[in-house]
Amino acid sequence: NAHHAPVTPSNLCKPRRLYISFSDVGWENWIIAPQGYMANYCLGECPFPLTAELNSTNHAILQTVVHSLDPEGTPQPCCVPVRLSPISILYYDNSDNVVLRHYEDMVVDECGCR
C-alpha cells in the first residue's frame, strides 16, 4: 500500500555486533581461552513485503500481510537467530584439571523473520 513509508535498510532484521568479554563477567581467572568472543544478537524490523534476504518462512510472510492490514491486532514477525555456530572454551575446573569443552549455538551468524 503506497502510504506505507519504506523502512530504512539499517533497521531491517539482521545480526548486531555483541562482544562477550569473560573478564567483564569476572570469569577471567578460570577461563583460559578465549578471553571473549563475538556472540552477536538479532534486532530489526520484519516489514511488509519481506524480502528474500530476511530468511523468512511462509508463515512470516503471511503474518506481515495480516500485520499490514491490522497492525494493532497482529504484530510483525520476530527477528530471531536462524543460523548459529559453536565455540570451544578452554578452562580450569574445580579440581584444577584443564577442560576443553565444545558448546553448540553460541554465535549468531544469521537472523531471520519467523
Binding site: W30, R83, S88, N94, D96, V99
Partner: protein, 228 residues
C-alpha cells in the same frame, strides 16, 4: 544476589554446577591447545557444519576433553632396586565427570622431561610395566603381586618421546564400578650399564604422567543430534 543467581543459571546452561576457582593451575597441555586453535581458526560456515559431538583428532564421540594430572605417589623413597628404577602409583580423580557424561576414550601419556638418548647395542634399554591396581597400598609398602593386573609391558629406548597407552577400557571400568584404585607403573633397566644406572637413579625426577579423557555429554549432544 540477583547477579549471582543469573551467573549460576548461566554456568548451569554451560554444564557447570559452580564457578571454578583454580588453586594451582597446571600449564595447558599442548594437545588441548592444538585442538582449541584448530577449531578456533575454522571458517564460520565450517564450524556450523562440523560435528561438535565428535573429537576428530581422536575419531571418537565427545564434546568434552579433560586432562587429569597424576595425583599418585612413589611407592619407595629413592630407587627400589638395582635394576628397578621406579615403582609409582598413578591416580587420576575421575569423580569430576558428571553422571550424564559417557566416557568414550582415555589415553595415558608418560613423558620424560629429559632429552637424553642412550644408544645400546641391544637397542632395548628401559622396560615399562603398567598394572591396574585392585588393592590400596601405602607409601613405602610394595603392592602385593595378586593385588594387580598387568595391562602393558614394553621396552623403550628414547626418553625424549611421549609414551601413549589407550586405557579406555580401564577408565570405563573405574566409572562403572566406582572403584578407582589407580595404576602401578614400574620402570626398570635391562642391564647394569653405568650410564644406564645413572639415568635409572634419576628417572623419577623427570617423569610426568597425565590422563586425557574424552566424554560425551548426553544432554548437550543428544539435543543437537535430534536437530541435525
Amino acid at each position: 544476589m540477583e547477579l549471582s543467581l543469573q551467573e549460576s543459571l548461566l554456568l548451569k546452561s554451560l554444564g557447570l554446577s559452580t564457578k571454578p576457582s583454580p588453586k594451582s593451575p597446571i600449564p595447558v597441555p599442548p594437545v588441548l591447545w592444538r585442538i582449541f586453535q584448530r577449531r578456533k581458526t575454522l571458517p564460520s560456515a565450517n564450524k556450523a557444519l562440523a560435528d561438535g559431538c565428535r573429537v576428530e583428532e581422536f575419531n571418537v564421540p565427545g564434546n568434552i576433553i579433560r586432562v587429569f594430572p597424576d595425583q599418585g605417589h612413589f611407592i619407595h623413597e629413592g630407587q627400589p632396586g638395582r635394576l628397578l628404577c621406579l615403582q609409582k602409583r598413578l591416580y587420576f580423580n575421575l569423580s569430576v565427570l558428571e553422571e550424564g557424561e559417557r566416557l568414550t576414550m582415555a589415553q595415558l601419556e608418560i613423558k620424560f622431561s629429559c632429552n637424553s638418548y642412550h644408544a645400546s647395542s641391544q637397542g632395548q634399554v628401559f622396560e615399562l610395566r603398567l598394572y591396574q591396581s585392585s588393592q590400596m597400598s601405602l607409601r613405602g609398602v610394595p603392592p602385593q603381586r595378586h593385588g594387580r593386573k598387568l595391562l602393558v609391558e614394553q621396552s623403550f629406548a628414547q626418553l625424549h618421546k611421549s609414551l601413549l597407552f589407550n586405557l579406555s577400557g580401564v577408565a570405563k571400568e573405574w566409572r562403572m564400578s566406582s572403584r578407582n584404585l589407580g595404576l602401578i607403573l614400574e620402570i626398570s633397566v635391562s642391564n647394569g650399564d653405568s650410564d644406564l644406572q645413572r639415568l635409572c637413579a634419576s628417572i623419577d625426577s623427570f617423569l610426568d604422567t597425565s590422563l586425557l579423557v574424552v566424554t560425551l555429554s548426553q544432554q548437550q549432544c543428544k539435543a543437537s543430534r535430534r536437530r541435525r
